[in-house]
């Protein structure tokens, strides 16, 4: 006979609730897209109009609390041989979990944008390759964790060594 304690019951209840939440069902993830993907989204944040001026936009999937999600982004680049890091300020239509990244870096050199998204204790990330204003889908990758420094450096190196597209 299995003895059901209060602790077991609480654990099972928590598991059941988690299974019902989108975050559990699909896992936290990001989708990267061109700015056209955010058409119709009323995005706030500088510079206006953000959705149009964005280099790319991204969507947070599987977050049960979009307004409470934490997003951080940094542009990492090599300009004239020097390693440069620029903190970014994403614009947001946060209620729908859509964010935009404007090119807040110079138009010199190749860059990657490292994104970390946190929602209810879950973390996901992406490293997005950008050149000038444009993002390069084929040279970007989605992660199931926050980008590590080693991953960022490796992707930046590979992106800088990649032939012009």
């Amino acid at each position: 006979m299995v003895k059901i304690t209060m602790k077991t019951l609480t654990g099972l209840t928590t598991l059941f609730v988690l299974m019902l939440s989108p975050g559990w069902a699909d896992g936290l993830s990001l989708t990267i897209g061109a700015p056209v993907a955010a058409q119709g989204q009323n995005m706030s944040g500088p510079p206006y109009p953000m959705s149009k001026r964005a280099s790319f936009v991204f969507r947070l999937n599987g977050c049960a609390d979009n307004p409470g999600a934490q997003i951080t982004a940094r542009a990492e680049g090599i300009v004239a041989g020097s390693r440069v890091s620029v903190p970014l300020n994403p614009s947001t239509a946060q209620a729908s979990g859509v964010f935009g990244i404007a090119p807040q870096w110079g138009n010199q050199g190749k860059w990657v944008v490292a994104i970390t998204a946190t929602c209810k204790g879950e973390i996901t990330g992406a490293i997005v390759a950008v050149e000038g204003y444009d993002f390069k889908r084929d040279s970007s990758r989605l992660l199931s964790h926050a980008p590590t420094q080693a991953e960022i450096e490796a992707d930046l190196k590979a992106w800088n060594e990649a032939p012009a597209q």
Partner: protein, 306 residues
């Protein structure tokens, strides 16, 4: 009251009927023949009124001219210094075969007219910045809320929903649109093509905008699209397009869904769902019936791959 009225009526009935004497009619007719003497306004009053009206018209015209919105134009010709002028609504801007002109569109952006271009400024209102491209080529860079900047040709109007694009047109309305940033709606008589960055769209006189396609799409797809849009390519052209389409070519397929014969729609639908399952709310029946809400839902999801 009723008795009083009846009594008066009876009294009137007792009165004799007497014929009027002829002299009465003669005098009446004579008075009718006498012309009515009109008071004529003195000439000086007419002159005064005309002068007042003239001054008012000239004043209004000058006030309007002084307050008319003018956009700056910087002309550059080969081997010559830059020349700055301005242009307002109703005026034409033309470049010859060796000159460019940069038009500052209010405070929302710039339009560069390439050599051999003729365009007219149609409206310079705060809520409507509108040009007519008669012929030639322009490059537009706009930073403004959507649907504030328009460029008309004879066969399509580019409605700015984004940032940067190039547009060509000839005098008949044949031309093309190439978007490099943001996205643009290409409209004509209720037909709309959504053209995002990296995509192009051709337009033809009398037919309006064709189907948008990504510039890096397979050549076979682009050629077949030209046949389908402008040369009655039909099912054969559509089969080529569907076979050659890649994931991001759902931009083209989504537009085609509502432009082909109903019998050909399933071919497009099946190809689209082969790339990714449609999102919640999009059903086969809804898509094939061109339900507006279904198509919008699907487009919004597909746009993440464009």
């Amino acid at each position: 009251m009723f008795d009083d009225e009846r009594m008066v009526a009876e009294a009137l009935a007792l009165l004799p009927v007497v014929k009027a004497p002829d002299a009465v009619w003669v005098s009446i007719e004579a008075s009718l023949r006498v012309p009515v003497r009109k008071e004529r306004m003195p000439v000086w009053r007419w002159v005064l009124a005309a002068t007042v009206v003239l001054i008012a018209v000239v004043g209004l015209w000058q006030w309007e001219a002084a307050h008319r919105v003018r956009w700056q134009v910087v002309r550059t010709s080969l081997g010559q210094a830059k020349h700055v002028e301005s242009i307002s609504a109703g005026e034409w801007l033309q470049t010859d075969g060796s000159s460019h002109a940069e038009l500052r569109v209010g405070s929302i952006g710039t339009v560069i007219a390439e050599p051999g271009t003729r365009l007219r400024v149609v409206a310079t209102k705060p809520n409507e910045h509108r040009l007519l491209l008669q012929h030639g080529e322009i490059s537009a860079t706009i930073s403004a809320p959507p649907k504030l900047f328009f460029v008309e040709t004879k066969s399509a109007t580019a409605v700015d929903l984004g940032c940067e694009y190039k547009m060509k047109a000839d005098d008949y309305g044949n031309g093309s649109l190439i978007v490099t940033r943001g996205w643009v709606a290409f409209d004509w008589q209720g037909k709309e093509s959504l053209v995002p960055a990296g995509a192009s769209c051709r337009t033809r006189a009398g037919r309006g905008p064709g189907t948008p396609y990504f510039s890096d799409a397979p050549k076979s797809l682009i050629a077949a699209l030209d046949q389908l849009d402008f040369a009655n390519g039909g099912a054969n052209a559509l089969q080529t397009i569907v076979s050659a389409a890649r994931v991001r070519d759902t931009l083209t397929l989504w537009h085609l869904l509502s432009r082909v014969e109903p019998g050909l729609r399933p071919l497009i639908y099946e190809r689209m769902v082969s790339f990714a399952a449609p999102p919640a709310g999009v059903t086969r029946d809804g898509a094939l019936a061109l339900d507006p809400q279904t198509l919008k839902l699907w487009k919004d999801e597909l746009a993440w791959t464009w």
